[in-house]
Symmetry: C2
Subunit: 238 residues, 2 copies
DNA sequence: CGCGCTATTGAGAGAGCTCAATGTGCGTGG
DNA sequence: CCACGCACATTGAGCTCTCTCAATAGCGCG
């Protein structure tokens, strides 16, 4: 029963589920699999036949461009469905990988999702909504990379991650477990590793954050939000 | 009857419509409205009660950040549904404006869209698919802004726009009408106006493109695609 | 104990930015 | 029909934010 609990929490943070729907989700036949740090869950060009729900760990989407330059386009946390779009966009146009910690993912066959959608239009709407929120986050990332300098940009992504972890009950106090390295951050922010390190240093020296060994802590939420110009409206949480 | 033809062409470029579905779309009650260059169609914070189908002209989505820095997150061309997400994400988290030419937009009440979705699950899937493709384009923009230098980045967006115009029959030969200025491009690419001008100059001097008075022409498609590292897979066209 | 991954710091180089001036085309009023 | 205003495009020049190269440090694990 515990299996898809994270997914249910994620759905409830963004919409409403009645008990019957939770039961239907809990009844889904899933295959759990563990992935090593850095391992790909799906590769660009794949045609997945099931969708993934993250149960544990951090996952990111990425594309390699030019001569090995990597751009991360999203981070995903437990409860997320990072490849739901493959339900209707058959071919993967990007890859999905486990971040610095081993990841446990539930594979849900497309067939059973489709079946669920057919019988429950409201749940279908909620899943659609989830993909729309993904898109809203992508837009915010465009804004972040396009128009904020390195320190604000770094601050913004940390605000987003903490906010999302909180929304699904994965943060306690001001801390949450986030197994991402500075290399991940640099590839997500379109910055160099060195510059991310210096931006983090600046935030650290202002006593706003600490990030080490997979633990993100925000000591000065208010000031960080101010620097980042962070407005959580785009996350469309309840 | 001519009203929503651009929308039908856009849908058919990304999925299949049977005659019955086209008729249902053609029967939708719409209100057409014209917008002056620069005018907002929708503003951040609005709660739209209808969705927009662009019939003529170029539209863009944007957000203002910090001290008036604008980031454009998408361009939209005739046939596009640039605010379809508002169907399930009630509050707009960004604005929508007409580019340099007057725009004609059809307003389709959410009620009639919802009704259509309820009675036609396949059409619902196609519209869902449309929003997923939007998201794929957002991802590509993240990659473009995050990891490509100015010239490649500029080349890439021009490839995308031309490709999309072609897909809905709005390009002839190597030219298409695109009423966007260098200011729009700079806000879309996360570059300064001056630098976009210089990037365009470089592409122009290599005899690859020309862009003036709202007409984009690509003289060296192959070389441009090469420079841009452009792969249209992310547009998920048929 | 040493390898490998991640983080940190220094320093020089460069892509892209800002400020500022000039050019160009078009619509409008006299 | 011409002068003017306005929006957009172009070019020059100096500056700065961010990058790359390179070296060092810290930590966990076999």
């Amino acid at each position: 029963m515990a299996g898809l609990d994270p997914l249910i929490r994620t759905l409830e943070a963004r919409g409403t589920l009645i008990p019957l729907q939770k039961e239907a989700i809990a009844r889904l036949k899933i295959v759990e699999r563990e992935y090593r740090p850095g391992e790909d869950l799906i590769k660009e060009g794949d045609y997945p036949r099931s969708s993934i729900a993250i149960l544990k760990g951090t996952v990111f989407r990425y594309r390699i461009v030019g001569e090995g330059r990597r751009q991360i386009t999203a981070f995903h946390i437990p409860g997320d469905l990072p490849d739901l779009q493959a339900l209707f966009l058959k071919r993967m146009d990007h890859s999905l990988a486990a971040a610095s910690e081993s990841v446990i993912a539930a594979h849900i066959p497309h067939d059973s999702i489709t079946q669920l959608l057919d019988t429950d239009p409201l749940l279908a709407q909620l899943l659609w909504r989830l993909t729309l929120i993904d898109a809203a986050v992508f837009r915010e990332w465009i804004v972040n990379i396009g128009r904020r300098d390195a320190v604000r940009r770094t601050a913004h992504i940390l605000c987003e991650l903490m906010f999302r972890m909180r929304a699904v009950g994965l943060a306690e106090q001001d801390s949450c477990k986030l197994a991402i390295t500075q290399t991940h951050l640099s590839d997500a922010l379109g910055l160099s590793l060195v510059h991310v390190n210096r931006s983090l240093k600046e935030l650290r020296e202002k006593k706003l954050i600490s990030l080490r060994q997979g633990l993100l802590t925000i000591h000065g939420w208010k000031a960080l939000v101010e620097i980042a110009d962070f407005d959580p409206a785009y996350l469309h949480l309840k």
